[in-house]
Structure formats: C-alpha cells, structure tokens
Symmetry: C2
Subunit: 361 residues, 2 copies
C-alpha cells in the first residue's frame, strides 16, 4: 500500500517539522533537502521514514536544533568541527563546505567531525564536491550492530563509505555503501515479510551464521562485507574499522561500542569516551593532480568501458556505482516519491502534533 | 619442502640481483628491503618469489633500473609523480616521502603516481607514516583479473587498499587487503594442490560461480569482495574501481583493462591510454586533527577493546588488522624465512646467471 507524493510537498512538510522543533529557517531547509535526497535516490530507509526519529532525538535532548557549529582545530588542509550536538543534516554541509574550501586553497581538504548526529545518506555530501570539479569522500560511524570477524560482540556500526568522482560527458561515479554485507534497512524488509536472510548477512549470539532475520534482537549481529573469514569478512571488518577510526577517534567523537544509537528509546552507552557520533569529509581538486580536461577525458573512457562491458547471462548490462540511484532520482523528481502507509501515518501524527498541514493536503 | 634462510642472507642476495640488472647501490638496497618486507610479513606471494619476475620485466625493457623519478605537478597538499618506468619498489618510497613531507607542511599530503611497476606489499609504504605520527594510506592498481558485478569481462586488478594508523602503547592498526574476496596468491595455492576453491572466489567465462581454481586460465575471473550481488559484490567492485581511478586516472597511468601485467611474457594491452601502472599515497598528520596524545589514548582504548572482544566458539581471540603480519614479522626476523624449493631453484638460477653467491652459501 503506497501513495505517491510530490517532492515539493514532502520538502515543505519536512521543513515545517524541523522549524517546529526549533531549527532556523535556513537550517530547516538544509535538513529537509538533505533528508529527502535519500527518498529521491531510492534509499527509503534513510529518508522521510526517519523524520519521527529525528523528532524523538530532539525530544530526548540528544539533538540540538540551535547548534553553534565550530571549527575547533585546523591546518591548511585539515580540521576538526564540533557539531554542538546538531543534526548531522545541518552539521555535515558546514563541514563538507570547509573541506571544499581548503581544497580550493591547498589542493585537498579533510574535516573530521565530532558531536554530531545521523547525517542522512553519505552521497549527498560527497556529491557537493562534483560541482567544484573535485572528488568527494565521506564516512560516518554509527551505533554498534556489526561483529568483527571471529567475535560474538557487536562493536562497529554499518559505517558507510562514499566516494564521488566527476567526469566529463558521462554521468559521474558515486559509490555509497555500508561496509557490511547487507545494510540494516534490507534486513528490516525481511523482518517485516518474515523471510529468510541469505547466508553471510547475519550471525546468531554464538557467532554462527544464521538466516533468521530477527537474530539481531536475540543478541546476534550483522556481518562485515564478506560474511565469514573464508569469504573475506576480515576485509569488511577492516573497512568498517577504518571508517570508525577516521570518523570517531580522529575527531574526538565516540567510537566502537560507545557510539550513541539513532533510536532515542535506546539508552546511550555508559562511559562514552567522546562526543556524539563522528563523520569524516574529504575533497580533492582534480586539477591539483592533472589538468581537469585530461582527467575527464580518461574518466569518460573509464566509465564508458565499464558501462558497456559484456554482461553475464541473465543480466541486461553492467552498472557503474551510482547508476541506479541517479536513474531513480530523475524518475522520482518527475513522477513523485512513493511512501508506505506506515510512513504516511507517521507524517500524519507529526502534522497533528505540530499543527502543520500534512503533505498532500 | 621448505628450507629456512636468514633475512640478511636473502637481503644481500636480492640487493646483488638488483645491482646486476643496473640499479644503483642505493636503489638496490631500497628494492631489496621493500621486496623482502613481504616475506617477513608472511605475504610470500609478493616477496622474493617474485624476484625473477622483476628481472624478466627488466629484460623485456618494461622496467627501468636507472629511472629519473620526477614530481611533475603539485599543490601544497597534492602532487603527481612520474616514475619513469622504474621499479615500484624504488618509485614508491620517493612518492610516500613526498606525501609525508607535504603532510608536515600543511597537515596532509596526497601523491598519485604514474609510469611505475609492481611495488611489493602496500603495507610497507603506508607504515612509513607511523614513524611520523601520521596515518598512511596506499593504493595501487594492477592488471585486470577481476570481473565487475554482472559482467563476464575482467576489467579490474586485485587493487589493494592499505591504511596504517598509529597508536600509543598498543601495536598499530595496519589493514592491507586486496579488494577481491580472495587474493590471487591464495588461488595459486589451490591450483598447485588441485583443490576446489570456495564459492564466491571465482566465476567461469560465462559469469557463473565456479569452484575450479583453474578457471582463470579458461576465461574466468576473480570476484570482487562479496562474491555475488546478494553478498555485496557491487561494494567490492566499487572499492576496486575507486583504487583504479585514484591510482590510474588521477595520475595519468593506465587503468581498467589497460593496466600492463606483471608477468613479462604476457603482452601489454593495445592502445594503452596512460603510462605504466599507477599508485596512490596519502599521509595525514594526527596532530593536524587532534593533540597527538589525546588521539593515542583513544586509539589505545579502541585497539584494546577490539583485541579483547569475546571470541566466537572455536576461535581463540579477535584480531585487529595487521596483527597476524606483525607477529609473523617478529618471528621471521628471529627465526628466518622459509622458502619453497621452487623459489630456491629460481634464486639458484639468478645466482648462476649474474655470477653472484646464492643465498645460504
């Protein structure tokens, strides 16, 4: 049961909700644009479905809608930003703009962020670099759901990495991925449908591979990309760890099992060593390495070669990272965004509560 | 059948071989140290077993042992190095030193390299940053053995990523991994033993998952980390692609299916768009983000928490990336390096050919 909403309807509504919980007009617009970018790109788990979650974080006084976001340490190419417990959707554009500005000055810019919250999809932040003829790199840590190889403990978040690379005539390369075999959102879909999970996605509380999608509630864990040691899970574990250290340890945020969870009803961990959750943003100017036109010519050739590669039997064509999301974004901007009934109900609740018009009314 | 050699014996011999093919004394020492670092750390496929391969590259005039290595483009935090077709073992220390020197000046340094050759194990270059209280990041592309998700074509190398992160009292974090499910060296071991490969390592020429370790010779391909789409191979594919673009496209080296192969008997691809193979080196000063002592305190806590995590049944303990290699390095420095008989024979051949003493004589 899905109903279609126009992007602008959802944007107006989302902005009004953020204003209702105290955001400035400017911050509310930024947060609405950021949150809905996930819905546009088809990452429904990270979009407007999370709006009530943001409101609950604010209610729990864990998200500050009037943050004083500050650069607290810097060199010509690096820096650390303290997000003052602000929404990640607002803190992150500040940090990414700083990375871009440093790249303009000295070739590259790298900003670690502490004291932030969930920032939506990583791709939206990394893709800001594309407009400036730069490569964008974005990471964030999250609360622990993933067990390192050989362990039964959940010590890492799904810790995504995004890299966006500009091109000439071809659409750009945009890889945005959790460092687990499967994102938590995909598991939630199986839970709702009561379907088995493929082997390699999760383990039970004793560390055995399981296909029960409800295993996480029974002390199990998501698995790092690779699934088990024989299939390279130690590499997925290493990638998730790198994201955690760059985002959490380098910034002075929390890390590992101490990263506070997004759902406000789950208590924050005891003895947190840092502040909030952490992100990491990078920008590298293309012409800090090569003449931009020469790079773009080669990048176009790279993209064409991969997009036109011979597909295996049963597949139409070979994709480049970011292709499905780009096609979805064009489609949903034109034809609207479908929302599940449960999400529509959540929005109705928010409309009542803040006495603002529900979207589509 | 293995015989044990002392590190210094192998080092002297390897240095003499590099001098015999024209390297300066300084370059030969650098190359010997670099190559043998793989044997010390237990990555036998990348060490002295490849020495004859380097000699054949020089014979085929594809490796220049008197290179004029040059920084050809730079900004305060970035640059491109042309390796003049030199040995990657010699070009890479030059480039990594530059990255470190830029990081000293402006917080971080990023060097893309073109016109190089195989550089041994990535970890040795990244770990140079540790001594300077910096994070080291190293990538390289390689000739195409890996099929992108949904494709039957081999378009990417095993393209490793290495990240080395310093700590205080705890041993450092050093992740060094191919972006495939299994490194090519592991497949070669199965080929020799005629054993089946686990599902998810390779596919046949039609793109079907195969367990035949000889599949690569019959038009098959290695698979990206994840194995298949359901297990996240599109993420391994994206990682390998990022390494290829950073190393090859950003530097003006070759990329994708055009990267020249290491074995000199395989002809180089036609219409190569760039020069040689490409690498990417990065260094970030810890104190460009946070006070170094505060970072190290947190990093020690991170490492302790993961090293002391509860293991799953059947496992002794949880490892941090780099632990097995560090333990092996200590062991082999003390007790020597075992070489397979076939490798010992290769060294005997080189000793005869260049009229130098064979190791152990």
């Amino acid at each position: 049961m899905e109903k279609i909403f126009e992007y602008v309807q959802l944007w107006e509504f989302t902005k009004n909700v953020f204003i209702s919980i105290g955001s400035s007009d400017e911050h509310a617009a930024l947060a609405a644009t950021g949150l809905l970018r996930a819905d546009l790109r088809g990452i429904d788990s990270h979009g407007i479905a999370r709006l009530t979650g943001y409101v609950r974080l604010w209610e729990a006084k864990r998200a500050n809608t009037r943050p004083d976001i500050k650069l607290i340490h810097e060199t010509p190419s690096t820096g650390v930003v303290d997000g003052d417990a602000g929404l990640g959707l607002v803190v992150s554009p500040f940090a990414m703009d700083l990375a871009i500005s440093k790249a303009k000055n000295v070739g590259s810019g790298w900003i670690a962020v502490r004291n932030s919250n969930h920032f939506g999809i990583a791709a939206q932040h990394a893709m800001k670099a594309l407009e400036q003829d730069m490569i964008g790199i974005v990471m964030t840590n999250g609360s622990a759901l993933v067990a390192p190889t050989f362990s039964i403990e959940r010590l890492l978040g799904t810790n995504p990495i995004c890299v966006a690379i500009p091109a000439g005539d071809e659409p750009p390369f945009v890889a945005d991925m959790a460092t687990t075999t499967a994102a938590n959102g995909k598991l939630e879909i199986l839970q709702r449908k009561n379907q088995e999970a493929p082997r390699g996605w999760i383990q039970d509380k004793e560390g055995k591979i399981s296909t029960n999608p409800h295993e996480l509630k029974a002390g199990g864990a998501l698995l790092p990309l690779g699934g088990d040691r024989e299939h390279g899970s130690h590499k997925g574990y290493a990638l998730g760890a790198i994201v955690d250290i760059f985002s959490g340890v380098l910034s002075g945020a929390n890390y590992g099992p101490w990263v506070p969870p997004f759902p406000a009803f789950i208590p924050v961990p005891e003895n947190m060593p840092g502040k909030g959750i952490g992100h990491f943003f990078g920008a590298m100017r293309i012409d800090a390495f090569r003449e931009s036109s020469a790079f773009k010519k080669d990048m176009d050739q790279w993209l064409k070669r991969f997009r036109r590669a011979s597909p295996a039997k049963g597949f139409d064509r070979v994709l480049v990272p970011g292709d499905p999301e780009r096609i979805m974004e064009e489609e949903r901007l034109k034809n609207g965004i479908p929302l599940m009934h449960a999400v529509e109900e959540d929005l109705g609740y928010l409309a009542d509560r803040f006495r603002i018009p529900a979207p589509g009314l």
